[in-house]
Symmetry: C3
Subunit: 308 residues, 3 copies
């Protein structure tokens, strides 16, 4: 039996049993939401702080709904509008909020490692959940991605997945790889322009490609990453049409993947840059399923940490 | 028996029975709020999204309170602060939010017809409620206005009402006329400067006036509209004092109306421009009753659509 | 038996019995929160409006948590973002919100006396709670300060307290003095640069000092005030290091106080200006206890006013 999680800052080195327990919990949350007409009250009397240093209405709303559906109170503390943004002042603000009896802090920050900083400074009894730090980790996204895959392809030992785009700067890619590896995925492929691929010594267990037609061959799932347009400049494909031609996903290219391969994207999508509308809105797209699973995964994580 | 409403984008062509059922429901909500010491839990587990493209603290707060008093969760998504404001990106954001299991979207937008656009794009199972689109419709305002009138003058077949001000640009005026007509109001009068009157072929069942002293004669209710000061320029009364003299409501002019005529205004009022303080704060003013009824009407609409 | 409070705008002239009842209630709230796994439902169905004209995430969050933990709904109305900021328009907005059936208004405003203005204009049945007005009063801060002291030094007739810093502009200092006097504190000392001391005829029952080493001698509690840096200019110590040398609290100076003297601060603290980190983070610091007590005191005040 694995221990109950206290914090969730990364999926790296998380035991397979813990990940599977969280996915199972997420499925229970889905069932409870589908059947019940009443809110769950697992977290009644608990308080969750949303501490977002980067704007993200989607992820913040997902966490907020997850917490409220379990009966918790949610405080949205938009640090951008406050005077405190770093160092001692930030920790004084954090301790002040904790002294009002917080149970969990959901944090997003552009600097990698901030969640661990908070874990070091957080008071005993307060859980920290990483909602994305720099290009390092986005663990609930990793969990919701493997949950979505598991619903359609339950046998990970047979699974082949390609992750395509700006892998170098993607916290989603890293958390996906960590979760896929933990669950025993057979074949994990990374694909992107050379300038946007991670360093050679990072993610050593993955196959690397710079030709998407080759990378996609026969895979069970294609995870497309959002391209920050300003990063396209750094590649040798500095315009949208050329980028799309080489690394975009359209129906022609999707036909090279395995039959009925899952199409996934963490959103928000750039239509016509990394993904064609015919694919994003097509029958193999699981993009909106991912969003729905996101709420259940966050309910599972909050429930795991905060239920009495 | 009329069908349960799925969406509410306009009152135009809504059957009288549906409107009356909503008004009756609003009265039940009022009674439940007055007697009960506990919140109603009709919408426990339901989630309502407030999607306001125009700022409106008053209407948004009214919808938020209505939803919360029925036990629903409310997400305020201020689109002005997000990157998505139109077209495909907007619909991707909408679908993302829907995939988190929304039950209703309350939308305000300056472009007429946006609520119907959302109805076309919304997923099955999500209700759309118009909180005001362009100069076209504001159906919950129309409902709360006829509810306020019904509480004091229940016989609509005897009713004479004047709506005065910038009728041309007023979604309130249009929804009021639709609701009053559906309920069989005998005599609906529109009054305003020629430049601010609607086209001749619009609202054909109404009498038209440009002389307020004549228009107000003997009416049971006077609905004053808020004047956007920048629109005064377009009239031949381009200063506040001249406008007030011709189209403002003071005690002298109110005395020309029927005995105890109701004074109404959707708010916020411009004191000294369209309405004198002696009238706004006087014994015939129902302006704050309208606000209170607004919460009950919105509870009724949400209950009609979302109760299981 | 003292009467139930209707409004709370200042602690000045509040009877000792009322203050003690509120402190006792706050302790009950603390116990209920500590033992129960469920939210209290004392205020279910009640609505509290947070009306903040000055930004204050900390105090607003404290009131919001207090209200929600008692089951109330909370509306945050950020007046800074609305068009209404003063005079008639403000009262029209206030009445509009009241007509949606508010039970209490929590107000912060930079102009002293605004809460009393609201009391004069508020509808019957709506309670007004001052969350800080100008330099005049911050009654819930005064209550949470005496609660914190009472937990460690229950005999006020033996108590000696010094309040140090910009007393002249501090609403916290005034509410602290009022609460301490009402509870019979033996010795209340005020200390600060001459330019930042209140007028001679104000707070006549307090001893006055401009030498902190003398003022702190033997006291049971030291309440440090936050220094607005722009006000330091007005003193004869116009730089941070010189100010800290004369009026800052470090371990050397704290050793002059009574054994184990309590160190308090309303926050947010300016480290190295009015207080050294060694003291703020040291064993005698009660600063975070104050924050925790703040929620309980606000629960007590809301419960006193709004419970049916």
């Amino acid at each position: 039996m694995s221990l109950r999680l206290r914090h969730l800052t990364t999926l790296e080195n998380l035991p397979r049993a813990t990940i599977e327990r969280l996915l199972d919990r997420a499925m229970s949350m889905r069932d409870a939401c589908a059947h019940g007409t009443r809110k769950l009250d697992l977290l009644t009397g608990r308080t969750v702080l949303n501490l977002f240093f980067e704007p993200s209405t989607r992820t913040r709303t997902s966490f907020e709904l997850a917490a409220r559906r379990l009966g918790a109170d949610v405080i949205n503390f938009d640090i951008g509008f406050s005077s405190t943004s770093k160092g001692e002042e930030l920790y004084d603000t954090l301790h002040t909020l904790e002294a009002m009896h917080l149970d969990a802090i959901v944090v997003r920050h552009k600097v990698s490692g901030t969640p661990e900083e908070l874990v070091r400074h957080a008071m005993s009894g307060v859980s920290v959940i990483n909602a994305g730090d720099g290009n390092r980790a986005h663990p609930t996204q990793g969990l919701l991605d493997v949950l979505t895959i598991r619903q359609h392809r339950p046998n990970f030992e047979d699974l082949s997945v390609v992750i395509c785009g700006d892998v170098k700067h993607s916290r989603v890619a890293r958390s996906d790889v960590h979760a896929l590896k933990a669950l025993g995925a057979r074949d994990i492929r990374l694909c992107g322009p050379a300038a946007l691929m991670p360093d050679e010594d990072e993610l050593p267990s993955c196959q690397r490609f710079t030709n998407f037609d080759e990378a996609i061959k026969g895979v069970d799932a294609v995870i497309m990453l959002r391209l920050q347009k300003e990063r396209m400049i750094a590649t040798d494909l500095p315009d949208e049409q050329a980028y799309f031609e080489h690394f975009g996903l359209d129906n022609r290219r999707l036909a090279l993947a395995g039959k009925g391969a899952l199409v996934m994207h963490p959103g928000p999508i750039n239509r016509g840059i990394e993904i064609a509308s015919e694919v994003a809105d097509g029958p193999q797209s699981k993009i909106l399923e991912q969003v729905g699973n996101g709420v259940f995964v966050r309910m599972a994580v909050l429930g795991e940490m905060l239920a009495r």
